[in-house]
Amino acid sequence: MATPMVYLENLTKTRSQSESVFELQVSSFAVYPGQLIAVIGESGCGKSTLLDLVALVMAPTRVAKFQVSSSTGTPHDVAKLWEQGDESKLARLRRDHFGYVLQTGGLLPFLTVRHNIGLPGRVKGMGTDEKRLHSLAKRLGVVHCLDRMPISLSIGQRQRVAILRALAHQPQLVLADEPTASVDKARARSIMEDMHTLAREEGVAVVVVTHDVDLIYERADAICSFETTQVSEQVSLSVCQQEQVK
């Protein structure tokens, strides 16, 4: 198999909130190009934490190995970057390789849909491919929304626009955090399907965090699940397992 885009080994993340301590342990996690990985679990099991760690916006407490590789270049040692506190380099990895879909879209309310979609490309320093953008928008059925402000869109439209934004700058990995949590089941299914199809076509790997197993199960290449134990009154431990499905 090819080099994993994201690879991490023996990661521990400890978060303490007032008196309770939550610890997430990941023995190994890998994302290969083009894969769809489902992160499934009840709320509070640490799936968002895992996503933030992969998204390079949360520093791991301990990690044996943490690499992000682009299709061409050498792998980047994320563990070392965190250690050095090289925030700029991490930001560059984010903008060059990753796309994001947040629970409620995460669109910037002060930019039009078109500018929202174009922003990751501009940050990355590549021009906006209007034609591609247009055809993607058409596929997602939001082409008529392009010049509107996010506030005027329905939640479903916003999520589609968010997916469009995540893909527009041709990242290698899209991270989606409960992209369908705020829509009804039928719409959720259609959104998920669109995202999956587009990712396939673009050859982009996707990591989806969801609590809805049905929605993703048949499509996923690998599944991450969590086993939560209450160690003591204060300390809870969650162990993440990744298993290949296909």
């Binding site: 968002s48 933030d52 998204a55 916006v57 949360m58 925030e87 700029s88 930001a91 560059r92 984010r94 903008r95 060059d96 994001y100 947040l102 629970q103 409620t104 995460g106 910037l108 309310p109 002060f110 930019l111 500018h115 922003l119 990751p120 501009r122 940050v123 990355k124 320093g125 590549m126 021009g127 402000m149 955090d177």
Partner: protein, 611 residues
């Protein structure tokens, strides 16, 4: 294409402000509400001070320093003062009483008594009040003088100078052209401005002297003879009691016995033995004919000789020093001393006429003067004198003999200005000092310095120092007031900006987190509030200047009646505007630092899931 996230920040920050335009507008209005009044205040301060200053600067009256008392100023004083920095114009003036002149417009008979004031090229009072500097034969009139005379520039007037001499009234007339009429600003008094030379001639004529250049008859100011003391020769010695009584009320201060040999040395010829000699003197003062007459009066009836002497008078002739003997004896006096009578007669009230004053009896044994009718000699004094001595005979003494009057005149020349007029062959008193001056400083800023300098010299002067100082004090006071208000305003404006920008960051935590997620680093989002602060400040400045502009216009309009051409009460120079904008922008940048710091502290992982 290179990735430059920082370049995108201003656009995003501006888009955010536009999106929240109501909040932005409120902020801009709040800032403008601080900026406008500050600008108006600054404009008012600058405008009023400038107007007041310009009024002072424009009117030469405020640059004038006038003497407050009449006293004598020597020509040398004028020379040294005019070299002083800060002096714009300086001319001597004459006694106020001597400066009244009768002016008759041509073709009329009614005369007006006007004040005659000397002027000279560069006189700011004339030049800056629509006048011109009068040439010889011209005058410039003050507006009041022109009104009284009913003449305008270009017309001719007749100046009549009157005097009374030996009981008779005399007058001289001269036609003068009115070169210009001054604006009323130059003063409300009726005045005639004329070149100094004309004014001096008028003064001289009034004092009884002639002004030959103008054809005005009169005396020449003749120097008087003065002496150091006198030798009294008596055939009968004085009783001691009479001795001291002799000099009471005569102007002499001292009488002492004088051995005959010393008397001979003082007088320059041997004194016969039958006389008793006394030395009469007035230490520290000069002896004149009136003092001598008083003594003569007291000794009436006695056989006596009262011979004045002047010490240390010597003449230069061909590099040689001559010590002449001054002797003026009539027949009787000469007989008493056993000497020939003087060809110029006895010493008396008037100086010997014509060439008699400069006559000399040359000693026989010296050959140099024998063929010549006259020899040229010089003497030192206030002015060095060069004059001929006319040899009219031979001296029986070893020294040349001259009229004692000449010795007296030469002695006077060591204390007062005496000149020898070659044309008339006579000595004349040169002009003494002037009785006042007209002085203008180069600028109002030079006035206080000159004012204090003259005061230190002991000259009482009057100047508009107070008006100038008042403006300075007002400027300082207004400046302090302005800074107090400005401080308050700037503090308030900055606080508003700090709070709003900080609040905006708090409000937009999630959006800033998303920006971070999209690949902006901490150092990029730092500039998001900074740009917003500067943008808001710029808009506030624009709005503030619009407010200031309209208010300043209204203020200047409403005070238009009080203001002259080109004057305004509320005005700001460009440098102030640039400075103000710069300070505002810098302050807004500083005000955004707290918000900027807050923005960098945002942890995307914590905020992106916020609703």
């Amino acid at each position: 294409m290179k990735s430059r996230p920082l370049a995108l920040i201003p656009g995003l920050a501006a888009a955010h402000l536009r999106h929240e335009w109501i909040l932005t507008l409120c902020l801009v209005i709040a800032l403008a509400a601080v900026i406008s009044p500050l600008l108006v205040l600054m404009g008012l301060k600058h405008g009023t001070i400038q107007t007041l200053r310009e009024r002072l600067v424009e009117d030469p009256i405020f640059r004038e320093i006038r003497p407050a008392q009449t006293r004598e100023f020597q020509p040398q004083w004028f020379e040294s003062l005019s070299a002083h920095p800060g002096i714009g114009f300086l001319t001597p003036t004459i006694l106020p009483l001597s400066s009244v002149i009768n002016i008759v417009p041509t073709g009329q008979s009614k005369a007006e008594l006007l004040d005659l004031i000397p002027t000279a090229p560069g006189d700011p009072l004339l030049l800056e009040n629509n006048g011109a500097i009068p040439m010889d034969g011209e005058v410039v009139l003050s507006s009041e003088a022109a009104r009284r005379l009913g003449v305008q520039a270009g017309k001719e007037i007749i100046a009549r100078v009157t005097r009374s001499r030996s009981g008779k009234s005399e007058n001289a007339e001269i036609r003068l052209k009115v070169a210009a009429v001054l604006d009323s600003r130059a003063g409300s008094l009726a005045r005639v401005y004329a070149p100094l030379s004309f004014v001096l001639d008028v003064e001289a004529y009034k004092e009884g002297y002639a002004a030959p250049a103008r054809g005005w008859a009169g005396d020449t100011p003749e120097p008087y003879a003065s002496f150091d003391g006198a030798v009294l020769l008596l055939t009968e010695p004085l009783e001691p009691i009479h001795k001291t009584g002799l000099i009471i009320n005569t102007g002499f201060g001292r009488i002492s016995d004088l051995p005959l040999d010393k008397a001979s040395a003082l007088l320059g010829f041997p004194v016969p033995g039958q006389f008793t000699a006394y030395d009469l003197g007035a230490p520290g003062a000069s002896i004149t004919i009136s003092n001598l007459k008083a003594i003569e009066q007291k000794l009436r009836g006695q056989t006596r000789l009262l011979l004045p002497y002047a010490l240390n008078i010597s003449l230069e002739h061909n590099g040689q020093s001559i010590r002449p003997v001054g002797l003026s004896l009539d027949q009787d006096q000469a007989a008493l001393l056993g000497l020939p009578p003087s060809p110029w007669g006895a010493f008396g009230q008037n100086l010997p006429k014509g060439k008699l004053l400069t006559s000399v009896l040359w000693p026989q044994k010296e050959d140099q003067g024998e063929d010549n009718q006259s020899i040229q000699v010089s003497s030192s004094g206030i002015h060095s004198l060069n004059f001929p001595l006319h040899i009219t005979g031979t001296s029986t003494l070893t020294s040349p003999v001259v009229p004692v009057d000449l010795m007296g005149v030469l002695r006077t020349a060591t204390q007062r200005g005496v000149l020898f007029n070659e044309e008339s062959g006579r000595f004349e008193m040169s002009r003494g000092g002037y009785r006042g001056f007209r002085l203008y400083a180069q600028s109002i800023d030079h006035v206080p310095d000159l004012y204090h300098m003259l005061k230190e010299e002991g000259i009482e002067v009057v100047a508009e120092v107070e008006a100038i100082e008042r403006i300075r004090v007002l400027d300082q006071g207004l400046g302090r007031l302005f800074w107090l208000i400005a401080l308050l305003g700037l503090f308030g404006g900055t606080a508003v900006l700090v709070a709003s920008l900080y609040a905006a960051v708090e409000r937009r935590r999630r959006d800033l987190g998303v920006l971070r997620l999209l690949g902006f680093a901490r150092r990029h989002v730092f500039f998001f509030p900074v740009v917003q602060g500067i943008l808001i400040a710029s808009l506030g400045l624009v709005a503030g200047f619009l407010g200031y502009g309209s208010l300043a216009l209204a203020i200047n309009r409403s005070f238009a009646t009080e203001l002259g051409q080109g004057e305004s009460f509320c005005v700001l120079p460009q440098s102030y505007i640039v400075l103000f904008c710069l300070v505002t922008l810098i302050l807004s940048g500083l005000a955004s630092l707290a918000a900027a710091w807050r923005a960098t502290r945002i942890d995307p992982a914590e905020v992106i899931r916020e609703q």
